[in-house]
């Protein structure tokens, strides 16, 4: 043996060696980096030792020439072997992948099923992840979005989202806690000029709004400070949508002027297509233009008119708590300085910070999105379990192949690795197919999702989605591959007897997997069934009026907004002329109609009752004409308005049943009693002249609320909706109405014209959508569970062929055998169903909020679902079982 080193540390050069050997060792060690890491770890140090030993031997034998020869032969070979080792390590995984592909070709139907199952699971969860990511998880698409807030005004328990410009100025001056502070007001002016008049949504903004949200200006310029100065000419930045739609994307529009409510604004710029205003500023219509608020705007002087939304970006240098305290301090100071405008119901003003993200997404939408994400996750787990099951049954068929490979020297680890590479290859194929399916699903999702889902425009397949799908593929591939790999590694060992016992073990595992599948499928199908039942309830709900053959027209009266007398004349004439149109049975004007969003609210006080401590706002509705007959709301007591009521005549009101119970709980008949609208003690008392039926004002999902109807002449509002009942089966005279309004109010756009059915559909769009999605998941789940049961039954039947053959040969009746096999399948499914009921019970509290007229634990629905799944399981097991017992027993026994 050559000289020994005194050191036991293999890493550091030993001090006893000569410097040339130390150098050789360093060189060899650095050359080790040519080898793959796994090789270096396992054998690298020992290889270097052996090489050094060889070098020493050569030096001893041939001196200096031996040293040269070492580097020329062993050294060179050492380096090239490193590269070769790297290549062959890669090639081994490639080999496994190629062998996986060969497997795939050998049983294309089976593997297609596996890939499709994985693809379904991955498609559903990737699509829902993409939606959840865009809607809930990702921060808003603005710079420093986590620090964006809206400033709400709170008075005691009441919170309002708007502020007056006067207060905003004090906020601006009073604090350095915000790095950005803007006030925004939404308006809906009419765009006139070339083309039809059109109602637009525009935002009046203070300085820095667009810049602060990093809106890209694609043509022209953003507003400059000069545009906000007193006396500056009116200018507007157009949205991409308006620019494309009304101006054909013509860059020449910059410098031209547009007429908004008759005021000429010169166009200074166009915002890019990607820019959207923050959620709280969205009005349902996309913003068409942004208009700088000038310093001479009269709103600056008004402290009482809370019309503006205040957005702020917190300065990161000031702690959040300090910022909150600062905001609330400014509110208190304002309440002290201007108590008449800054107290409400006795409570002083306090500014609170509401995170913009929360306001945009909203807790309901968030919960719903997470609910569907959870459902898609269940579906993915179900798909994985299904694939594990399929692979297990296939693994049994491959037992012979694996056992040959094992006999040929492939180690257990090697075979387990091959099985894992196979399952991961399958899941990667599944991920590719799943991404394709998923992006179709996302496209479908975007096109059918109701507008109530926030940030929908941000949903799309991006790199995050692709990464998510492939991470899922790796995880699921490993997860559903692990079980067969473990089983596979065990199953091929040893004698036939032990293989039979391992067959029994895998049959137990398979039964367990089927039970898990059943449990998952049951919870998804139950969710779907519950939502379907609830949706049926929604459709069957009595809205309190007759929604068919109704048309609702939204428009504004022409002329000055304060010309109340002009409005009255316009409305009276409109009602007369519309009522005379052919096919119109009834027509009325109303501030609100059921299911169309919007309404006026006021505190209500019954005569003799004290003003309540905290004010509750109730819906009041100024109307003209016979609204009750038009909508089909029954008159239950008293009478309706005559149309002769006037502002200086006796004040009257018609209330609904709910209001009668709420305000006059002691009276059977509230007709003749009096109530006041408004919180002030001096608010005039109105006599209740009639009681009408309740309506579900916000659509079938909400319970009826108290409502007070007043004559338009005694409750002036700035606009009324026109409601028409047309003769049943007749097309509504839409063209005639349009022509009539154009004639009576030239230049006034019709803001909206829709049937009541459309409004009702919109009010239940979210429920419809949720039901649709979860039903799709439920159907997929049922399908997967049936496939799982079928494949397990086939597998069990093949395994038991011999046993069944013997029993048949011994005279057992076929019927009894079939019953026995099916009973087993039913028992497994029953076990799973029981588990599924438990899961459903746990998940029910997330579903509860989306169910109407039934409980998440509705016994009828849950037992029907359980029966459905049991039936499906038995049905799926029937085919393979029948096939097995039909086989001639002598052939089976002869095969052994």
């Amino acid at each position: 043996m050559p000289e020994a080193s005194g050191s036991s540390d293999r890493r550091s050069p030993s001090p006893t060696r000569d410097p040339a050997e130390d150098r050789a060792q360093r060189i060899l060690r650095s050359m080790l980096s040519l080898y793959p890491a796994s090789f270096r770890r396992e054998l690298g140090a020992d290889l270097v030792e052996t090489l050094l030993e060889r070098r020493r031997a050569l030096l001893l034998g041939r001196g200096q020439r031996g040293g040269f020869s070492f580097w020329l032969t062993d050294g060179l070979r050492f380096a090239t072997d490193g590269v070769l080792e790297r290549i062959s390590t890669l090639a081994e995984i490639g080999h496994d992948a190629r062998s996986a592909l060969r497997q795939l070709r050998r049983a294309p139907g089976f593997h297609l099923l596996v890939v499709l199952t994985v693809a379904l699971g991955i498609a559903a969860s990737t699509a829902m992840f993409t939606v959840a990511d865009a809607v809930v998880f990702r921060s808003l698409p603005y710079p420093d979005a986590e620090n964006l807030f809206a400033l709400h005004s709170r008075f005691g328990g009441a919170e309002f989202s708007s502020t007056s410009l006067g207060n905003f100025r004090d906020l601006q001056r009073g604090t350095g806690a915000f790095s950005w502070l803007v006030a925004v007001r939404d308006r809906s002016p009419a765009l006139t000029g070339a083309g039809d008049p059109e109602r637009l949504s525009v935002l009046d903004v203070t300085e820095g709004y667009l810049e602060g949200l990093a809106a890209r200006i694609v043509a022209g310029r953003a507003p400059q400070p000069a545009d906000h100065q007193a006396g500056a000419p009116p200018v507007a930045v157009l949205s991409w949508g308006l620019w494309k739609r009304r101006f054909g994307g013509d860059p020449g529009v910059i410098g031209s002027s547009v007429q908004l409510d008759g005021v000429s604004h010169s166009v200074i710029g166009v915002a890019g297509p990607g820019f959207r205003d923050p959620g709280p500023l969205e009005t349902g219509r996309p913003t068409a233009a942004w208009i700088p608020i000038r310093d001479d705007d009269p709103a600056w002087a008004a402290r009482g008119d809370s019309l503006h939304t205040v957005l702020a970006r917190r300065s990161p240098r000031v702690p959040l708590e300090a910022t909150k305290a600062e905001a609330s301090r400014i509110g208190a100071a304002l309440a002290e300085a201007h108590p008449e405008d800054n107290t409400f119901n006795g409570a002083p003003l306090e500014y609170v910070l509401e995170p913009l993200h929360d306001l945009t997404v909203g807790s309901e939408a968030r919960l719903r999105v997470l609910l569907i994400l959870g459902a898609s996750g269940l579906l993915l787990v179900l798909a994985c379990v299904n694939v594990a099951n399929l692979l297990l049954s296939r693994g049994e068929a491959r037992g012979a192949e694996l056992s040959t490979r094992n006999a040929l020297g492939a180690s257990d680890a090697r075979i387990a690795r091959q099985l894992l590479v196979e399952s991961v290859s399958l899941s990667c194929l599944g991920a590719i197919a799943g991404l394709g399916l998923g992006s179709l699903a996302i496209r479908a999702f975007r096109s059918i999702a109701p507008a109530e889902i926030p940030r929908l425009h941000e949903v799309g397949v991006d790199l995050r989605a692709v990464l998510f799908a492939f991470v899922l593929a790796l995880v699921t591939g490993a997860a559903f591959g692990a079980l067969p790999a473990l089983h596979g590694a065990r199953s091929f060992h040893g004698s036939t007897a032990s293989r039979i016992s391992s067959g029994r073990r895998s049959s137990r595992t398979q039964s367990l997997l089927v039970a898990v599948q059943m449990a998952l499928a049951l919870s998804l199908v139950a969710g779907a069934a519950l939502l379907l039942g609830s949706f049926r309830n929604l459709l069957a709900t009595d809205p309190g009026f007759r929604p068919d053959d109704l048309l609702v027209v939204d428009m504004r009266p022409p002329g000055e907004s304060r010309d109340l007398e002009g409005h009255r004349r316009f409305y009276t004439e409109l009602l007369d002329r519309v009522g005379a149109l052919p096919g119109v049975e009834e027509a009325a004007l109303s501030f609100t109609v059921p299911t169309k969003p919007g309404g006026a609210f006021a505190p209500v006080r019954a005569e003799g009752e004290p003003t309540p401590e905290s004010l509750v706002f109730h819906l009041f509705n100024p109307i003209q004409g016979n609204l009750f007959a038009t909508l089909g709301i029954p008159l239950l007591a008293g009478r309706s308005f005559t149309g002769d009521e006037s502002a200086d005549g006796p004040m009257v009101a018609v209330i609904n049943e709910r209001a009668a119970r709420e305000f006059f709980p002691a009276d059977r008949d509230p007709v003749g009693r009096r109530l006041a609208l408004g919180g002030e003690p001096e608010a005039p008392l109105r006599e209740v002249i009639g009681v009408v039926g309740d309506v579900r004002q916000s659509g079938p999902t909400e319970e009826p609320r108290p409502q007070i109807y007043v004559p338009y002449s005694q409750g002036r509002v700035n606009r009324l909706l026109l409601a028409l009942r047309v003769a049943p089966g007749l097309e509504p005279p839409v063209d005639e109405i349009r022509a009539l309004i154009t004639e009576m109010a030239p230049g006034m756009p019709i803001d909206d014209l829709r049937t009541m059915r459309e409004w009702i559909d919109r009010s239940i769009a979210v429920q419809r959508f949720l039901t649709l999605l979860v039903t799709a998941f439920g159907a997929l789940a049922l399908f997967l569970a049936v496939i799982g049961t079928y494949s397990t039954a086939s597998c069990a039947a093949t395994r038991r062929l011999r046993e069944l053959g013997i029993r048949q040969a011994l005279g057992a009746a076929r019927g009894a055998l079939v019953f026995d096999t099916l009973a087993r399948a039913a028992a497994v499914a029953g076990l799973g169903a029981a588990g599924g009921l438990v899961v459903t019970g746990i998940a029910s509290r997330w579903l509860e909020g989306n169910l109407y007229g039934l409980s998440a634990l509705d016994p009828a629905i849950l037992s029907a679902v359980a029966l459905l799944l049991l039936g499906a399981a038995v049905f799926a097991a029937l085919g393979p079982t029948l096939r097995a017992v039909r086989v001639d027993p002598m052939r089976v026994l002869g095969a052994d």
């Binding site: 293999r10 090789f39 140090a45 290889l47 052996t50 072997d81 080792e85 006999a407 020297g409």
Partner: protein, 121 residues
């Protein structure tokens, strides 16, 4: 059990060298060299890695108490490795015993080439 495929010659050489017992890498190289077919250390270790993975060879600590030998690692055949080696040796002997190979060998010139020709078959 179906017949295993023939081993690659260098694998057979390594296994045969290791039949001697527990050896460090350098000793295996020397064993192989003494049989007349020298092998590069790096090739030996690449093959060793596969043999370790297959479970034909296992690594042991130095059997010597001597601390100075501790950084050297030793390798030995497992039972399975020994079975594979024996099966291959039997196959070569059977092949060498066959009529045809004997005819070739007697017709040819070299005497030591028959083993190699057989193992490459």
């Amino acid at each position: 059990m179906s017949d295993p495929p023939p081993l690659k010659p260098e694998v057979f050489e390594i296994l045969a060298a290791m039949a001697a017992g527990e050896l460090p890498g350098y000793a295996i190289l020397k064993e192989i060299e003494e049989r007349g077919t020298p092998m590069a250390a790096s090739l030996l270790y690449r093959k060793l890695r596969r043999l370790l993975e297959n479970g034909w060879v296992e690594e042991t600590d130095s059997p010597l108490e001597d601390e100075t030998d501790a950084r050297r690692r030793y390798y030995r055949l497992t039972d399975r490795g020994r079975r594979v080696l024996e099966a291959e040796a039997r196959r070569i002997v059977e092949l060498a015993d066959s009529e045809r190979v004997r005819e070739i060998a007697t017709a040819g010139t070299g005497s030591g080439s028959s083993g190699e020709a057989a193992s490459r078959a």
